[in-house]
């Protein structure tokens, strides 16, 4: 068990200069162990998995399937076949929308989402609703960013077929009561889809305890390479679903006019799979376990508290979401009076501070809170108190650059 500073040493990019990287909610950095695992796969056992009858291909298959088991264990799936590798959360959610939503949502039915959803958990449902004549219903948070019991119990009804909710909002950082919502959704006969892109890197997830029927995650937000993600689906549901993409490696038997499909999960993994990055995702999970969620959370809370205390001292800053730093999951979204977030971000970049500015792929939420655009600082366990101090110092000088007083 090393200290967090020891872990930070594994991230070459963080030690390569004086940049403060506070855009972890967009994508994390990767430690050497993950990069090495990917390289090692290609150096030692690269061949097309699931097909070849020779050692390298069998080795690649084993590495790929081991990675699947690692993901399954990590999020509490009951069996490895419930994990489908995808490119990212967006693809995972599209798979559910096309293969489950299009078949099971009909005219007059309702799909319930929150107004906080990332576009990736909104547009697939917009598509299903439009094509099948269903209605999209929005859960709205209160001022603290909370979806209350009254809110979801009034909007999830017997007409609801799918409830799709982000586990953690990528703007407010609030953790939604997905377990309670899932329980209520099930009582109304609906299935529960959870977008776990923003939660999986930061907290221990148990898809069965949550009651998720589907759970989507992205590797790149949790130390793994870009281009690998996963979808958990309850076995009984996956078994009944039609394939999302068709082609190689997902078949059982093919004639000129027809085909039967492979068993799950392979039915949903058409084409040559991304085994190299799946191995990287497994290495990332092992790395996160070696750090430990207790340490991860402790550091994120410490940094979030410092950021929010610092921002509170600047009268021209408005912070969105809960006033309680413990409810931000390392994400602090804010605006600066008179300064557009893009200008703020550009000026901070000049000082080597990286924060996100824009609508964070959540335009309906921006409309809901009445902000065209916001700035967002998001931390991970490898960030430091010194970095927070630099961020706050540079931020306090932005208004002067933008022409407000000296």
């Amino acid at each position: 068990m090393g200290s967090l500073q020891d872990f930070r040493k594994d991230f070459d990019i963080l030690n390569s200069g004086d940049y403060v990287y506070f855009d972890n909610a967009a994508t994390s950095q990767r430690p050497r162990q993950v990069l090495d695992a990917v390289t090692n796969f290609y150096k030692t056992t690269n061949a097309n998995p699931l097909r070849g009858l020779y050692d390298w291909s069998m080795g690649a298959t084993e590495a790929y399937e081991n990675a699947r088991s690692t993901v399954a264990d990590f999020i509490g799936a009951s069996r490895a076949e419930e994990i489908i590798f995808t490119r990212n959360t967006t693809e995972s959610l599209n798979l559910v929308a096309y293969s489950y939503g299009m078949e099971n949502v009909h005219e007059g039915d309702e799909i319930v989402v929150t107004v906080m959803e990332h576009h990736s958990n909104l547009l697939p449902w917009q598509m299903v609703a439009k094509k099948n004549g269903a209605k999209l219903v929005f859960l709205e948070p209160d001022e603290e960013g909370v979806i209350t019991k009254e809110e979801y119990e009034s909007k999830i009804t017997d007409k609801t077929k799918i409830v799709a909710v982000g586990h953690v909002s990528n703007v407010f950082g609030i953790t939604n009561p997905v377990k309670e919502i899932a329980e209520y959704a099930h009582s109304k006969g609906a299935i529960m889809v959870v977008d776990g892109a923003q939660s999986t890197p930061h907290m221990s997830v148990d898809v069965q305890a949550i009651g998720a029927d589907f759970f989507a995650l992205s590797g790149h937000k949790m130390l793994a390479p870009m281009g690998i993600g996963a979808l958990y689906g309850r076995y009984e549901l996956l078994e009944k679903m039609q394939p999302f993409l068709t082609g190689g490696e997902m078949i059982e038997y093919v004639t000129r006019t027809d085909a039967t499909y492979a068993e799950i999960p392979h039915k949903f993994e058409a084409g040559t799979v991304n085994a190299g990055d799946a191995v990287g995702l497994a290495a990332a999970i092992e790395y996160i376990k070696s750090v430990g969620f207790d340490k991860i959370e402790e550091q994120e809370l410490k940094l979030t508290k410092l950021i929010m205390e610092g921002l509170a001292k600047l009268p021209y800053i408005k912070v969105y979401g809960s006033k309680d730093y413990r409810k931000h999951c390392g994400i602090v979204t804010f605006t600066m009076e008179g300064v557009h977030p893009h200008d703020m971000s550009s000026v901070l970049n000049d000082d080597h501070v990286c924060i996100r500015a824009g609508h964070h792929c959540a335009q309906p939420l921006m409309q809901f809170i009445g902000a065209g655009s916001t700035a967002r600082a998001s931390v991970y366990f490898y960030n430091t108190e010194e970095e927070v101090a630099v961020f706050l110092d540079k931020l306090s000088k932005v208004r002067e650059v933008m022409g407000y007083g000296a």
Binding site: V339, H340, P341, H342, D343, S346, V347, N349, D350, G358, H359, M366, G372, S373, V401, M402, G403
Partner: protein, 149 residues
Amino acid sequence: MELKQLYREIVNEHNLHPVNRGKIEDADLVLRGVNPSCGDDITLYMKLDGDVIKAASYDGSGCAISQASVDMMVDQILGKNKEEAIKLAGTFMGMIKGEITDEESIEALDEAAALQDVAHMPARVKCAVLGWHTMQEMLEHPEKAQENK
């Protein structure tokens, strides 16, 4: 020019004290321009006398670079005819994309030439060209710009 210097010496003045901001109620052409990656959202208004731009203004919201750029643009196109304005837009966008670098062409942009260094800031290119792009669309496709009136 460094970014902070660009703000201090050029952008802030137009952003904080714009001269061409506002709505022309009886405009001949009205067109909205949006930069989806940033959320910059402007509406451009224009009154024509034959081919000549008699009056122009804008409103909306966006980052300082987008707002300052459109404010400067209006200064440059007042009194010009359509063809001259479209040509200026081509020059400005060429300059920002780094495709036009000769001084003689750039001088025609007058004060707006000061934004040349945005060419080295890829994340801000769309902000700088939003007003100019909207103006070009408005004049080349007046049918689009009449629907919004």
